[in-house]
């Protein structure tokens, strides 16, 4: 049996305890309570190191001048503004990012269009295109390292069959090293885009193509007027996701070239690593890391904006 207490005339009901109970059981307090474990973990593994990195970027912790530790200031940021190596790395990161995005998007879209229509051996073809995704980046780097080898790599062996084209040391030549890394990165990450495009293509109603076909639209016109506009939000999302992945790419570059030859492949992430663990200049490395985080935040904001537009956009496969 339950007994309900009612406020008697002239007696003030216990409003405060009722409100706070509601706040904790069904209001924002409840949501906060449920999120608390995740927030604690995230704060510990992301928030704390981030704060530590910001503090470190204003400090002067370097192996070359141990006595300078504890000297706080904006000197690292001033150095960053006039450091040609840092801005060169930013430029290489941008090139690497654009190269991987262009390569992955075109390869993934082509593969998705091919396996979306082809009926025979479709499952095998899809599996083949997805396989690179299952390979860890470290293994990808090692395999491509062997393939690029100037003496016994399979790429040069295959080029022996092509007239007037000579093989070379792909990862040692300054002209080809960055492009070679981009190819390896594209191979590893294009399946992410492939999955998205395949899902997007499946969501386009077949009737749209039939209607266009009846209206005299050829294969290219159907691709231009139906497929591309219907995939526009997916393409936008994929481009930004791949930009983020490309910008923060590390293992493949680090294992294959370590930033060489002569800094030709030293992207911002690799420069950050090299500054910290080769030059042992931890504070400046933290400053470079903060720069990388700021660029990533801009990219993430772009991603969120595209997602918001996709949610309220007119038509189109999302």
């Amino acid at each position: 049996m339950t007994t309900r207490m009612r406020a008697q005339p002239g007696e003030r009901p216990d409003i405060v305890s009722g409100r706070s109970r509601r706040f904790m059981t069904e209001g924002p307090g409840f949501a906060l309570l449920m999120l608390l474990p995740a927030l604690l973990v995230l704060g510990f593994v992301i928030g704390l190191p981030m704060i530590k990195a910001v503090i470190l970027s204003f400090d002067t912790i370097t192996f070359r001048r141990p006595a300078a530790a504890g000297t706080y200031g904006v000197h690292n940021y001033a150095r960053l503004m006039s450091d040609p190596d840092a801005w060169g790395a930013v430029l290489r990161s941008a090139l690497y990012m654009l190269g991987t995005v262009a390569g992955s998007v075109s390869l993934a879209l082509g593969a998705a269009l091919l396996t979306h229509r082809v009926i025979r051996l479709r499952a095998l073809a899809r599996l083949t295109f997805l396989l690179p995704w299952t390979v860890p980046a470290v293994v990808t780097a090692l395999v491509w390292g062997v393939m690029y080898d100037g003496n016994f790599g399979v790429i040069n062996r295959l080029l022996d069959f092509v007239p007037f084209v000579n093989g070379q040391d792909w990862l040692i030549d300054r002209q080809t090293a960055l492009a070679a890394l981009i190819v390896a990165q594209v191979w590893n990450e294009f399946p992410v885009a492939y999955i998205f495009f395949l899902a997007g293509l499946h969501s386009i109603p077949e009737e749209l193509y039939e209607a266009a076909k009846i209206d005299r639209a050829g294969a290219f016109a159907r691709f231009r007027f139906i497929t591309l506009p219907q995939l526009r939000y997916i393409i936008a999302v994929i481009v930004i996701l791949l930009m983020i992945l490309g910008f923060k790419a590390f293992p493949i570059i680090f294992i294959l070239t370590g930033g060489g030859p002569a800094g030709a492949t030293e992207t911002l992430t690799v420069l950050t690593y090299n500054t910290a663990f080769r030059s042992l200049d931890f504070s400046y490395s933290a400053t470079l890391g903060i720069l990388a985080v700021l660029v990533s935040i801009v990219l993430v904001l772009g991603y969120l904006r595209v997602m918001a537009r996709a949610d309220t956009g007119k038509g189109g496969a999302v």
């Binding site: 039939e210 009846i214 005299r216 639209a217 219907q230």
Partner: protein
């Protein structure tokens, strides 16, 4: 192309998916400016037939002619026919004007001509101010009209409509039926309409082709198909019907004596709906529409009288449905005026003028080619 050539002519079209024959030797001739409906249940092959005409399905055998030209092997984009899809298939990323002008653009028309044609069609479908809207900002009826305008834009010889009213609610569907018929009259185009809704087919069409199991069971004007069903399927599918199994005892002059489920009926031979008339020994089905049976018996000579127990009376306001159970256990439906409602009445005799029944000789089939 010849002046007298029909808009669409199908010659012995057949199509099978594996062992399933979806179109079975269909022949059909549709004259210019006619509104014809392919009517049948789901899976009877009507949509496949439509898709064969427009070029989205390839028949296994037979010939398709449009304006006298053989287009059997022509690609879909080279056929002078257009199609309105069940879900309209409007391009969601294009405005109404861009949707309507798409076919013209693909034909290489100038921007000015496309714009003029769009405005003409927007006026025709009575949506002159919606050129800049996107399909998702239109109602179901407006989308349907835009789909119609898009199909009409390249000025096709014939327009094929695949259940385009299926997604609309009843009131809107009825409005759009009138609108479609009105547009067809104004444009004088040949419309081939596909539906499973027999009331829709009856109210809109100049001709109805009733399809079943990949074949056309009957082709005719709606009132003819309703009054003179050629097969048992047509009698059952188009409207409600009371069917009686009969056996021809004798034929004398213009009358035939039939044994109908234990009774003897005298019926006029000219009520046979297909074939070469009746002869003794034939098996037949007598079709009596529920509204042909009246509770006001006249005792007129030649009228068919049926007596049975009233098992159910359902009142609909403007009419009443009576169910009679005959002595042999079978049930008969009567669609009568509300005044016919007889609370408390146990037994009733109803009458049908012999001229209102139809006789289907079993085992015979009509020809349409």
């Amino acid at each position: 192309m010849t002046e007298t050539a029909p808009a669409i002519e199908l010659r012995n079209i057949s199509k099978a998916y594996g062992a399933l024959r979806v179109i079975d030797d269909v022949s059909l001739r549709v004259e210019k400016g006619v509104f014809i409906t392919l009517l049948g249940p789901s899976g009877c092959g009507k949509s496949t037939l439509l898709r064969s005409i427009v070029g989205l399905a390839r028949p296994d055998s037979g010939q398709i002619l449009v304006d006298g030209n053989d287009i059997t092997n022509a690609a879909a984009h080279n056929r002078p026919v257009k199609m309105v899809f069940q879900d309209y298939a409007l391009f969601p990323h294009m405005t109404v004007a861009q949707n309507i002008g798409f076919g013209c653009e693909m034909q290489g028309m100038s921007r000015k001509s496309i714009s003029r044609r769009c405005q003409e069609l927007l006026d025709l479908i009575r949506l002159p101010n919606l050129a800049g809207r996107y399909p998702d900002a239109l109602s179901g009826g407006q989308r349907q009209r835009v789909a119609l305008a898009r199909a009409l834009a390249p000025d096709p010889s014939a327009l094929l409509l695949d259940e385009p009213l299926g997604a609309l609610d009843l009131k809107l569907r009825q409005d759009m039926q009138r609108e479609l018929k009105s547009i067809q009259r104004r444009t004088e185009k040949t419309f081939v309409f596909v539906t499973h809704d027999q009331e829709e087919a009856m109210s809109m069409s100049d001709l109805v082709a009733v399809m079943n199991k990949g074949r056309i069971e009957q082709l005719g004007a709606p009132q003819d198909v309703y009054a003179n069903p050629a097969t048992e399927f047509v009698a059952n599918f188009v409207g409600a019907a009371n069917l009686f199994r009969a056996h021809v005892i004798a034929v004398e002059g213009n009358e035939a004596k039939l044994e109908v489920e234990g009774s003897e009926w005298i019926v006029p031979v000219n009520r046979v709906t297909c074939g070469n008339g009746l002869k003794a020994g034939d098996r037949a089905i007598i079709v009596i529409r529920p509204e042909a049976l009246t509770t006001d018996t006249t005792k007129a000579a030649g009228a068919i009288r049926i007596t049975g127990k009233v098992t159910e009376q359902t009142y609909f306001g403007d009419r009443v449905h009576l169910h009679l159970s005959l002595a042999n256990g079978r049930s008969v439906l009567i669609d009568a005026r509300p005044q016919s409602l007889r609370p408390g009445v146990d037994e009733m005799t109803v009458e049908c003028p012999a001229s209102d029944l139809a006789i289907i000789v079993r085992g015979k089939r009509t020809e349409h080619s």
